[in-house]
């Protein structure tokens, strides 16, 4: 009995940290609609700043708490700076474009933190005055954890007071419900947003600094926390602080007791829980329908242009690319092969985002399933390459068929996080099922058949298959299917009223996108010769998203350009400098600022403006 009580208390201490971080995220999202990938970075830098301050001043209780508060405030200031310097310039871009900007910030912060604090893990002092433990029913329990348990509700209460008893809080709530009406009434949204970013990032920094007495500060903290914080936000219901609190409590308890029943479940328990909650409740535990975010391309003026002479351009590009082996060396060919594969991967995601308005955070699931489909056929059935390649889109399509049925019943960020949940579940299966998938050591020896083994031959094969698939995707975009999808995106109600079964079309699009990503995954498996769970993991999904956004979501060619630019940039910068994340992040931030419509969106804007001048 006493053991269960202490285990529950341990879960509460975990929940407190989770709540602090995710409360900041939910406030920022609720008001600004920004999917702030950099939230975890503020948590990490908050922890590093807290560590430095506590090392210096943490000898006394006042020094310790002062240090924590100072670290939190510093993160608030940094957050406000990010709003003013970057995000403010992007409010007129498509909704998700800020996500790309914050992704650039994540990369920059990772390298700057490594540069400032060095690569080693840093273990800080324990909290002064709270070093020991007390016995609770004969079980020792750390004092500091008790304080954390108290801090959670305290912060929740303070935030409640702030939002319900101050003018600023009222304005923030007003902006959360109707941003445009609030600004029409004379409230400067820019200043409000700066304040919200300050508050949100300060909370992240507070969460980070409070971790110093509990665990070592590392360079991996940012990614580890941000995904979980998103889970809490979505499970709780977006924009709902009480929901985030409740979700943190539940997740903390689940983790504490889950490991007693089934220790291996640590990999996936959080995502399983999220999937169950989202399947049962469309807006999370305490979210409300009216706080639903708008779908992605709300500010698109020209939905999708067919483009003049698009076919001619495409054929010309194909011809140039097919001629590449005549001049390019082996490595250049391999890079081009990867670019072509990733272009298909990005285009398949673009089908969902650009046409369907369905932002997926878990698209790597289908890419990885395709790769595993091929690899498993080769490994367990000795399948020849063509058969294995054919298996890739089939397995991925089947996976997408099942997951899609659940996902298309949700929209906005709920849809996005449900796709992420499925991706994580697939990932954990690949990671854990040693007998079949080889676990994290993956499947080796997935090399092409002899006739396609040459770099040029495999490149041509890839070009032919991806070119065909891309042509099909484009056909779909301009077929009635594509128009129906766009109708559902722009106005679900009106589309339903003219007899379009929006959900069914979205489901079909999900399966089509999954199968296309699967083909890309199969080709990728043979290009690399091996398959690992990393192909299904979050960074792979983020890469796809970055490629689509970089290219611009309003054109069919966007994802292709985005894939090419991102992949070439990453691989070239990586081989040139150790600080490649810094360089890549800065380039992304610069691209976002200079091309707020994406690269292809920018080019077509340029062309149309030149055209107008000539006329």
């Amino acid at each position: 009995m006493s053991f269960l009580l202490v285990q529950a208390l341990s879960g509460l201490a975990t929940a407190a940290t989770l709540f602090l971080v995710s409360s900041g995220l939910t406030i920022v999202f609720g008001v600004t609609r920004i999917v702030n990938f950099a939230h975890g970075s503020f948590y990490m830098v908050g922890a590093y700043a807290g560590w430095s301050l506590i090392e210096r001043f943490g000898g006394t209780p006042a020094g310790f708490w002062g240090s924590v508060a100072a670290a939190a405030l510093a993160m608030g200031v940094l957050g406000a700076a990010m709003e003013i310097g970057l995000l403010r310039r992007l409010y007129r871009s498509p909704e998700l474009f800020q996500l790309l900007g914050t992704f650039g910030v994540v990369l920059v912060v990772q390298d700057l933190t490594a540069w400032a604090w060095g690569p080693e893990d840093l273990l800080g002092r324990r909290a002064s005055g709270l070093k020991g433990s007390i016995d609770i029913l004969d079980q020792p329990f750390p004092l500091y954890d008790l304080v954390l348990i108290g801090l959670g509700p305290l912060v929740l209460g303070l935030l409640w007071l702030l939002f319900n008893r101050t003018r600023w809080g009222t304005l923030v709530r007003a902006a959360t419900q109707d941003r445009e009406m609030t600004s029409a009434l004379g409230v400067d949204p820019a200043r409000l947003f700066t304040g919200v970013l300050f508050l949100g990032c300060a909370l992240a920094g507070l969460g980070g600094a409070l971790q110093v007495p509990r665990e070592a500060v590392t360079l991996q903290m940012d990614v580890a926390i941000v995904v979980e914080a998103f889970v809490v936000v979505v499970v709780g219901g977006m924009g709902s602080l009480t929901g985030a609190f409740l979700a943190s409590l539940l997740i903390g308890q689940l983790q504490a007791f889950g490991i007693l029943v089934f220790p291996q479940i640590t990999l996936v328990i959080v995502f399983l829980f999220m999937a169950v909650v989202l399947v049962l409740r469309p807006h999370g535990l305490l979210g409300r329908a009216e706080e639903m975010p708008p779908t992605a391309p709300a500010t698109v003026t020209v939905p999708l242009s067919r483009g003049r002479h698009a076919g001619v351009w495409a054929l010309a590009l194909l011809a140039v690319m097919a001629a590449a082996p005549l001049v390019a060396g082996d490595y250049a060919l391999i890079l081009l092969t990867e670019v072509v594969i990733l272009a298909l991967f990005a285009a398949s995601l673009h089908l969902l985002i650009g046409l369907g308005g369905l932002v997926s955070f878990g698209h790597a699931a289908w890419f990885g399933l395709g790769a595993y489909g091929s690899a498993l056929l080769v490994k367990h059935m000795d399948a020849p390459m063509p058969l294995a390649l054919a298996g890739a889109p089939v397995l991925a399509g089947l996976g997408a068929l099942v997951a899609g049925w659940f996902c298309v019943r949700r929209s906005g960020l709920y849809f996005a996080m449900l796709t992420l949940a499925f991706a994580q579940i697939v990932w954990s299966i690949a990671f854990q099922w040693y007998a079949v998938t080889g676990g994290d050591n993956g499947i080796l020896g997935v090399w092409p058949s002899a006739w396609a083994a040459g770099k040029a031959a495999y490149y041509w094969l890839t070009l032919a298959l991806c070119g065909g698939a891309l042509w099909l995707l484009r056909r779909a975009a301009f077929a009635p299917f594509g128009y129906a999808l766009r109708a559902g995106r722009d106005s679900g109600l009106r589309a339903e009223s003219v007899g379009i079964d929006v959900r069914r079309f979205q489901w079909m699009a999900f399966v089509l996108a999954g199968a296309a990503a699967g083909l890309a995954g199969g080709l990728y498996a043979f290009a690399k010769g091996s398959v690992f769970p990393t192909l299904l993991a979050v960074p792979q999904s983020v890469d796809a998203l970055v490629m689509v956004l970089m290219g611009g979501i309003q054109t069919v060619a966007g994802p292709l350009a985005g894939a090419a630019v991102f992949h070439l940039l990453e691989s070239e910068v990586m081989s040139m400098t150790d600080w490649w994340r810094l360089v890549l992040g800065l380039i992304i931030v610069a691209l976002v600022l200079v091309f707020p419509k994406g690269i292809v969106g920018f080019l077509s804007g340029l062309r149309s403006s030149f055209g107008r001048r000539r006329a």
Binding site: P142, A256, I259, P263, T266, G605, R613
Partner: protein, 427 residues
Amino acid sequence: MKHRHPTASPTAKSLLSAALFAALAAALAAAVLTTGPAAAESAKEPVKFSGAPVRVGEINSYTGLPAFTIPYRQGWQLALEEINAQGGVIGCCELQVVSRDDAGKPDDAVRVAQELVTNEAVDVLAGTYFSHIGLAVADFAARNKVPFVAAEPLTDAITWAKGNRYTFRLRPSTYMQAAMLVEEAAKLPAKRWATVAPNYEYGQSAVAWFKQLLKEKRPDVEFVAEQWPAQGKLEAGPTVQALAAAKPDAIFNVTFGADLAKFVREGEGRGLFRNRKVVSLLTGEPEYLEPMKDEAPEGWIVTGYPWEQIDTPAHKAFVAAYTARFKESPKAGSIVGYTTMKAVAAAITKAKSSNAEPIVDALAGLTFDSPVGPVTFRASDHQATMGTYVGTTTVKDGRGTMKDWHYADGANYLPPDDVARKMRPAE
């Protein structure tokens, strides 16, 4: 609501953007189509070399796991400088290293390996930390017939179940380190054991070997609890509590890095280690022990690297050179990096060639000197006999270190040649 987009008119800004874009596109095109090797990172050239340089392509997770890989890089840099100052390899040729980051992803590692082989024309591949990345590069090496010296991945598969002709591994494997610890664990009176290990192949095979080998020596032990936290995401409080609830006599720990620090801190706070012996993999390595400062655990039986106490002349010379060069103390990664590069140089010199097949033939059975003593790459399974230090942790002058340690030679903890050969796929 519709917005006029700022880029819809040909303003100065959009022209600037066009120029930027053009520059970017040109840079990319140039980057893709260049096939010539970039400037190699080589040491100063105090010696005149008569032959063509021999090139090594080095890959590691420099951004993914800097705490271990940065000391590793400094280690091989030191070795490289020494090798070239003493006349290079084969007595004629400069050894050049082209180093790359794999970002912690196996598919990136394979691409980088390809780039090193085709663009940089490297003769040998070396490096890698994570097991799955090591395996991916090993598979690439076999397919492209390039010798590969895997420095740090610990998985048994790289030399056994998925071993190949071109791949050799330096560090003592999971099996070897588990076997070294079992020797000590079997001497303990403890009968009830609990295990805690990160939930991936390294953790799982370490626990599996530990259980199997300990049961062989001590049929009376039982394993009463196991915890499998996700790597890097240990929920310390609940995990510690769950282990304590099983009331084990001793604990076998495989967690490392930030997880380990959390586990130790929370375990001390909750009295988990009171009157219990802990046997722990890698915990004695300075990378993991030193960040814990005076909170480093007392009395754990560990594998590690007590660098300040090893007083063989070879090792003292290494420590002196390393601290003089980098103004910091060596870590376990440093000595692995240093020895890796020395092994590569020894193989090339023995082969008297920069071609793949002679180097592979030279590596099989190669014996060379390292700071820990002579090391041999076994011809049977391509595993080096480099050992590690087994001892007890303690806190001295406010920092964690090891006491009562001895060097466990890897050769004594490997299965016999014929058994090992049978575990490898047929060639």
